[in-house]
Amino acid sequence: MSEAFVTALLELADDHLVLGHRLSEWCGHAPMLEEDLALPNMALDLIGAARGLYARAGEIEGKGRDEDDLAYLRGERAYLNCLLVERENGDFAQTMLRQLYFAAFMEPYWRAAASSDDPVLRGIAAKAVKEVAYHIRHAGEWVVRMGDGTGESARRMAEAVEELHRFTDELFFSSPAAEAAEAAGLLPVRAETRGAWEATIRTVFAEARLGWPAQVWAQQGGRAGAHGEALGHLLAEMQSLHRAHPGAAW
């Protein structure tokens, strides 16, 4: 059991670190100063959650791996994040839609995690649930602004939906490890969040005048370490300094 729980915690932690990293790439390059504050803000929330999750995973694993060992010394095939979060930032429409998709999933997930049998996870969830509500609001408002803004912004939002919607199915997929942890009452059942997720997204889409995508090829594989080509480059950069100085403290 504990091995499965460790794996499932890593899935969750990797989601948060990778998405946080992606958001951090915007820092200093956002479309307006307010977003140069908002994007790192969300990134900080996500990286903060990742740190808590890695630490907990390392603790349960009991092999002495700390948050940095888990973040910096696992390669691409060992990363277990879902595909959605690793997608390149694209334009602001894609970045905000990705954020909305993920946050709308995490909100009911963290809410359900309040009744996890793992007290540490309950603590992480209690903090994260508030943060993620803000992410939904912030990203949702932008999706509405861009969807119902100018011709160009509407076109870009529609393209973002076409690009990213196919990665949303994977959010509700539980790996065998996650299933075991769910069955043991340690983690919420991913599939059960779908209703809440869809309600959130449909509300935003309606206001944004975005159509619900008709037919998409749902993609998955991240939970088995089968990623797209973008993650490897992200990790190469992220881990470069850490790996260049094995064993150093920072």
């Binding site: 140069d36 504050l37 940095d68 602001f92 602004r145 912004s153 850490h242 920072w250």
Partner: protein, 315 residues
């Protein structure tokens, strides 16, 4: 003239000038220029440190750096707001930055070449900024003074953080120690230049002092900075890259201080005027962000108009 005298009397009485108060045009212009430059420095200053966010060597440092760079954006925001109280819009100021008309602190035209630069920048550059800014908390113009109080509080936190990064490196491997010394070697002189030219060469100083926009001379602040920093370097085990640096008991009115060697002002002016290796890259990065974001800002405006129109229609 009576107005000028009355204004000066208020200043001399340490009264705060507020945006709606009458003020001499020169006072207003000086403040717009200085606050704008200061705001731009915060914004451009996000870039050199931002360069290491994606490569920060631990999650704790990554989060701290991200938060720091975000704080700089926040400082930019307060400062633009302070300048806006004087009747210039953020858009206008941004365009002056991107066209090269407005300046920003020249220190940000140096590249960050290693992780140690993040520590050294926090320690030295934020340190020098604080030296410059603490007196500004008592600046005669109210909104600027109030913005600076917030800024200074955060900057001291950043400075401590930077110092701690350097300390960690100096307690680390040989490669880490070398990295820290190398960063100090590169940033020391640019940090000293942050206080501006020698008093004898400083263009705007005298009037700014009279108006209590400025309270100490460039050289006085630089000396203060050196006297505070050299012992810290020694404590860390770092060598300040100034072979002429000596303790001089006669400095600081006989209290003693560190006398520094000659500063390469040619380099200073060269970088100020656009000749630093990163000047073009910094402005290009800002311009790209601004231009790439144009459609987003437009969408936000268009949506706000639609919303307002619908609200009116519904009433």
């Amino acid at each position: 003239a009576a107005f000028l005298a009355a204004f000066q009397a208020r200043i001399d009485a340490e009264e705060k000038i507020e945006p709606k108060d009458a003020m001499p045009e020169g006072y207003r212009r000086t403040l717009v220029r200085q606050i704008g430059q200061h705001a731009h420095s915060e914004i451009v200053g996000m870039l050199p440190e931002g360069n290491w966010i994606t490569r920060a060597p631990s999650l704790r440092r990554k989060a701290a750096l991200l938060a720091k760079v975000q704080d700089e954006g926040g400082h930019g925001l307060y400062l633009y707001s302070a300048a806006e109280t004087l009747g210039v819009s953020r858009e206008q100021m941004t365009e002056e930055l991107l066209s090269g008309k407005a300046k920003y602190s020249s220190i940000f035209n140096y590249p960050t070449l290693s992780w140690a630069d993040i520590g050294i920048i926090g320690w030295l550059v934020d340190g020098a900024a604080i030296m410059n800014q603490i007196p500004l908390c008592r600046c005669s113009f109210g909104p600027y003074a109030r913005a600076m109080i917030r800024v200074c509080k955060e900057e001291s936190f950043h400075q401590r953080q930077g110092y701690e990064i350097v300390m960690t490196l100096m307690r680390g491997t040989e490669a880490q120690k070398a990295m820290a010394q190398d960063a100090l070697d590169r940033w020391w002189w640019p940090a000293l230049m942050m206080f501006g030219p020698h008093d004898s060469e400083s263009a705007h100083s005298e009037q700014s002092m009279a108006w209590k926009i400025k309270r100490f001379s460039n050289d006085a602040l630089r000396q203060k900075f050196i006297d505070a920093t050299v012992p810290q370097a020694e404590f860390l085990g770092l060598k300040v890259p100034d072979p002429d640096m000596v303790w001089d008991a006669g400095l600081n009115d006989g209290q003693g201080g560190y006398r520094h060697g000659p500063i390469d002002w040619d380099e200073f002016w060269r970088v100020v005027k656009g000749g630093g290796v990163m000047n073009r890259d910094r402005i290009r990065a800002r311009r790209k962000a601004w231009e790439d974001g144009a459609w987003v800002r437009e969408a936000a405006r268009a949506h706000a108009l639609k919303r307002a129109a619908r609200k009116v229609a519904a009433e």
